[in-house]
């Protein structure tokens, strides 16, 4: 698996050289969704706490770029976008991660709407305009920054998953009361992991904003950025580490195609495709791949 990842990475790194222009931005948007999905899975996929906050963290990253983009070098802006989101996640986590289940999901959902409206009010009060222009960055730079964030996201997800903390996060998802009684500081672990996952969402938002060139609160804090990672993760399957990557890449690509081919019906079509997939692929694409793999190895079923 790491070998395959490396090959895909090398191909991606070479892409701007042999496919300049539109394709670079298309692939950047796919990478952006992979980042959102993989970082969402770092926290929600393991603990089972359904976070609908990605749009909040992504949006904070975008606004970091809008506010600081002209003043500071791009890498600093991207890092600050990640840190700002992470701070927000830390605060939100400290307040809400004592809430169980559905309350947490509703709170994170409300958070996105709250920030959007607060910002809207602030912008109109203070600046008299709704939106902001973001510093221009050339497409290849956007692409490589996105790719770098993606590599860090995937590596972080991989190392957390392999570590004792990955096991502890899984145990929280399976039985939180047993976990805390086994000595796991569940509150601290949840808050820190939530904050770590937000770093990548914020960083991705900061670089993505430069591609949009103009943002306003509706664009930056669009709830689609919260729902898409959840759907992409489920579509890919969270049973295997590559599931969310695959799910995000496939759905993001489909989305791009549908938008260009059917600009008015694309949401409907995407919705239908996702519904069918969720109904008929209980373990997502991962389930399909694993079944095919088992068949290929002729009957010697992996004992899972």
């Amino acid at each position: 698996m790491p070998g395959l990842f490396l090959i895909v990475l090398l191909l991606l790194a070479a892409l701007p050289v042999y496919r300049p222009g539109y394709k670079v931005i298309l692939v950047s948007s796919i990478l952006m969704y992979v980042i959102l999905t993989v970082s969402w899975v770092i926290f929600s996929g393991t603990t089972g706490y359904l976070s609908l906050a990605p749009a909040a963290f992504f949006g904070v990253g975008m606004y970091t770029a809008a506010v600081l983009g002209m003043a500071l070098p791009l890498p600093v802006v991207v890092v600050l976008g990640g840190l700002a989101s992470s701070c927000l996640a830390f605060l939100v986590g400290a307040v809400t991660l004592r809430l169980r289940g559905i309350y947490f999901a509703i709170f994170t959902f409300g958070l996105v709407e709250f920030i959007k409206n607060l910002l809207l009010w602030w912008e109109i009060e203070r600046t008299g305009t709704r939106g902001r222009f973001v510093v221009l960055v050339d497409n290849n730079t956007i692409y490589y920054v996105m790719l770098a964030i993606l590599v860090m996201t995937v590596l972080t997800a991989y190392f957390i998953r392999r570590s004792r903390y990955g096991l502890a996060l899984q145990s929280i998802g399976e039985d939180e009361e047993a976990a805390v009684h086994a000595g796991i500081n569940v509150t601290a672990l949840k808050i820190v992991t939530f904050a770590i996952s937000a770093v990548f969402m914020g960083a991705a938002g900061a670089i993505w904003a430069t591609q949009l060139t103009y943002i306003d609160p509706y664009i930056a804090f669009n709830l689609n950025y919260s729902f898409m990672p959840v759907l992409m993760a489920i579509f890919g399957g969270i049973g295997q580490p590559y599931g969310p990557i695959l799910g995000a890449a496939v759905v993001a690509y489909l989305r791009e195609i549908l938008i260009t081919e059917f600009p008015y019906q694309y949401m409907l079509l995407l919705g239908i495709i996702l519904l069918v997939a969720i109904l008929f692929l209980p373990n997502g694409l991962v389930g399909l791949v694993e079944r095919a793999r088992r068949r290929a190895f002729g009957g010697q079923r992996a004992n899972t």
């Binding site: 004792r164 145990s171 009361e177 976990a179 009684h181 086994a182 500081n185």
Partner: protein, 239 residues
């Protein structure tokens, strides 16, 4: 100094006094039984001791340190481990990793993965689970899931172990094995506080027994004293 000591411990759920003003203690090396009819407040008392719930009144001390209202992970790292009446294993996690979590997180000092793996192997052998390999815990029988819970609790290196109805739902052979396991845990120098309904088991395993009824402690003494107590007999016959 007793290893565990409670004074006036009280917990109400709305109007219901689940545990009211209960005093208790467990001395070092002792095995103490906690009995009482269903709904007497036994599990609630365990929840108060382990930190799952905070008492409204009273204090609880572990090794002389006040643990009243502390969080369960802190209490666990201070040397108190427990099992649950409705068994709580991590269903999709392989049995060894279930146990290893206790080693990795349940002690005050950082334990290396290699040491945790070693302790896990030793404990799986101790509770008789070597043969199950890396099976997810959900695929085990109830008796074996209870062994996983005990092993995970032991992995946190407790000085005091709370067992909530370890033998409920087990057959005769399994009960005998569980009793023998309790005896071997005691040999490791671990004190035990156990809730049990099976009288024969509790009479043979315990040095001392406490009886709860409607949240109050109504009797305490040696197994012989408890078996002869009129009050206790009335409570059980009254059910």
């Amino acid at each position: 100094m007793p290893i565990l000591e409670g004074e006036g411990v009280t917990k109400h759920f709305g109007g219901l006094a689940a545990v009211s003003s209960v005093d208790f203690k467990v001395d070092e090396g002792e095995v103490v039984g906690l009995i009482g009819p269903n709904g007497a407040g036994k599990t609630t008392l365990f929840n108060l001791i382990s930190g799952a719930l905070a008492p409204q009144e009273g204090t609880i001390r572990l090794n002389g340190q006040d643990i009243t209202g502390s969080s369960p992970h802190k209490i666990c790292r201070m040397g108190l481990a427990r099992t649950f009446q409705s068994v709580k294993v991590f269903p999709n996690i392989p049995v060894p990793a279930n146990v290893m979590l206790g080693s990795l997180f349940g002690t005050p000092n950082r334990v290396s993965s290699a040491d945790a793996a070693g302790e896990t192997a030793e404990l799986l052998e101790f509770v008789g689970l070597t043969a199950v390999g890396a099976t997810p815990a959900k695929d085990l029988t109830l008796a074996n899931q209870k062994r996983v819970e005990v092993a995970r609790a032991l992995a946190t290196k407790p000085e005091l172990l709370l067992l909530d109805e370890l033998m409920a739902g087990l057959n005769h052979t399994e009960i005998a094995e569980a009793l023998e396991l309790v005896a071997r845990i005691r040999e490791r120098g671990i004190s035990i506080l156990m809730i049990e309904h099976i009288m024969k088991a509790i009479m043979s395993a315990c040095d001392r027994i406490m009886v709860l009824h409607h949240g109050e402690k109504i009797a305490e003494g040696t197994p012989q004293e408890i078996a002869a107590s009129k009050k206790v007999i009335e409570v059980y016959l009254g059910e």
